[in-house]
Symmetry: C2
Subunit: 328 residues, 2 copies
């Protein structure tokens, strides 16, 4: 019997989950739920219903895990606790500072409903967090580094689009190669924000807009750009569409640490991702953790979990025996 | 209260465990057990007894986790099941082909004694295995690559030392940079043994030995060298001591995979280690999993586990709340 998955929210992430389900032979897509008029939403999988989000409760016994594909700002803080009472749920909540609060809300709801909720699943938070934890546990004396990119930051692209005179824009976060190299060489550098990443912006201007003024406004924007070396390129709408329509991302998690009686030996642990599609990769992680949620729930578990709480074997289709034989 | 650790076997690995314990404030070394005459074994930690291995049973209630630091060829297949009946145990059993059998033996013994045994802990098997599992679960359609080095292979160094005319030797396994790059570029190459690694040997000859004959014998040695491009350097005993006495190692685990409805997007997951001291890093992993064994046993678990079965949070000194706040 397949694990029956529901997708709640059908944007880039929801579509990514739909694609990922097709790559996992032990799963099937049961239904997609949307706030839009279902008649206007066409999905890729044939024969699967698109339903109104308000009708989700009717699917309580027909869905094993609901994957919540909304945004962290307003959707998930409300949706994850709400649906965790009815379904085993997975989300990709990524507002780091609000995770403790979100965890508490989902935990209470999931326990009330006897369900499992796994939050903050993806690559950061997610796989990057796991690598920070493993590396810190192994090398208690050391230093952590996270670099992001090269990749598109949706938040920064949106910020540029809000500047007067900007028609469209795409922003790339780029790790500073020399900083990465210093970390890899075991120099344990103290790096400022500016030393770790640069920001590259591709901007389409509205007709008659003042390029110089727009560039100045972007470069001095607090929080988003003022602490970085920022480059602004003005390009045509066609070029933006042609060369910058992908959503690549990635990054690096490194820990360098010491061992030995006199701390005479150095070690470097590095984990990196190079992703053509940020949402599709995140979706693939969500789907693997949906398998874990299903299994944990089958064993009688309930409450909120994060990637830290899930034994790796739960993510794989293979049995423990097969895993030990083929991957250990 | 500290977690009381016993070390069984005091070679490079045992000494590494001793050093790692000092870096973990929630642990203390209770005793070291050796097959040698304890009077002849001096350890680094002051005030800790060195005992005969046959007296280990007397420590049943004074040790929370016994870390077995013997070899995989003959020590661990016998020791791990034997001691798993009395103690929670950790080992670094690394004969991949015999893991299923070892697992079964340790599982039966640990269940009989109501103890937890975690086997095959280290970096390969260990952290590399974990990364293979995570990457396969996330990207079900893709290709795995493992490269080792640059690092010293003890087995290959030993094999050279057995050649007639060789006084001493050190062998380095070196990943082929162009093969690594092809994988990173998403070319999904099919790589032969020869295309993945080269072998570099530093050899000290016995007086009067025939260098040409020794070189030929090394390069054509089946299993060890014949399938590789091997370089042999003859050096003096002093140079070997001076430049090649370390035990560095490391390697790379990569998985490249596709996502998307038409598999139109590529992704690369890479994990790598650069280690000054292979045994000290392995020891550091062993000690982190000793913490997990202690906690699992405290919760009433028993039987054999591998790194696949252990939720990451069990490895860390931090509480779930702290982990979510600082590392997620």
């Amino acid at each position: 019997m397949s694990i029956r998955i529901g997708i709640l929210g059908y944007g880039n992430l929801g579509r990514g989950v739909e694609c990922a389900i097709r790559q996992n032979s032990d799963m099937e897509l049961a239904a997609v739920f949307t706030r839009r008029d279902p008649a206007g939403v066409s999905i890729l999988t044939e024969g699967v219903p698109v339903c109104q989000i308000d009708d989700a409760a009717e699917w309580k016994d027909k869905i094993d895990v609901m994957i919540l594909c909304g945004g962290s700002a307003t959707d998930l803080p409300e949706q994850t606790p709400k649906f965790a009472e009815m379904f085993n749920v997975i989300d990709s909540f990524d507002t780091h500072a609000r995770i403790p609060e979100h965890f508490a809300n989902v935990d209470a709801a999931a326990k009330k409903g006897g369900k499992v909720g796994i939050i903050s699943v993806g690559w950061d938070p997610g796989m990057f967090s796991l690598n920070r934890l493993y590396a810190n546990a192994i090398l208690p004396e050391g230093k952590d580094y996270t670099f992001w990119g090269k990749g598109v930051s949706q938040g920064h692209s949106d910020a540029i689009r809000r500047v007067e005179g900007v028609k469209d824009a795409k922003q790339y976060t780029i790790p500073v190669e020399s900083a990465l190299e210093a970390v890899r060489n075991g120099e344990n550098p103290d790096l400022t924000t500016r030393e770790k990443h640069t920001r590259e912006c591709f901007v389409v201007l509205e007709e008659g807009a003042d390029a110089e003024k727009v560039e100045e406004e972007i470069k001095t924007m607090p929080n988003y750009f003022s602490d970085y070396d920022t480059t602004v390129h003005f390009i045509s709408e066609e070029e933006l569409k042609e060369k910058h329509s992908g959503i690549p991302h990635g990054g690096f998690v490194l820990r360098s640490g010491k061992t030995g009686w006199e701390k005479e030996n150095s070690h470097l642990i590095e984990y990196s991702l190079k992703l053509d599609s940020n949402p599709e990769f995140t979706s693939s992680v969500l789907v693997a953790y949906a398998r874990a949620a299903f299994r944990l729930a089958s064993e009688g578990a309930s409450g909120c979990k994060t990637v830290f709480d899930i034994a790796p074997a739960y993510l794989s289709q293979k049995s423990g025996e097969e895993l030990r034989k083929t991957m250990l």
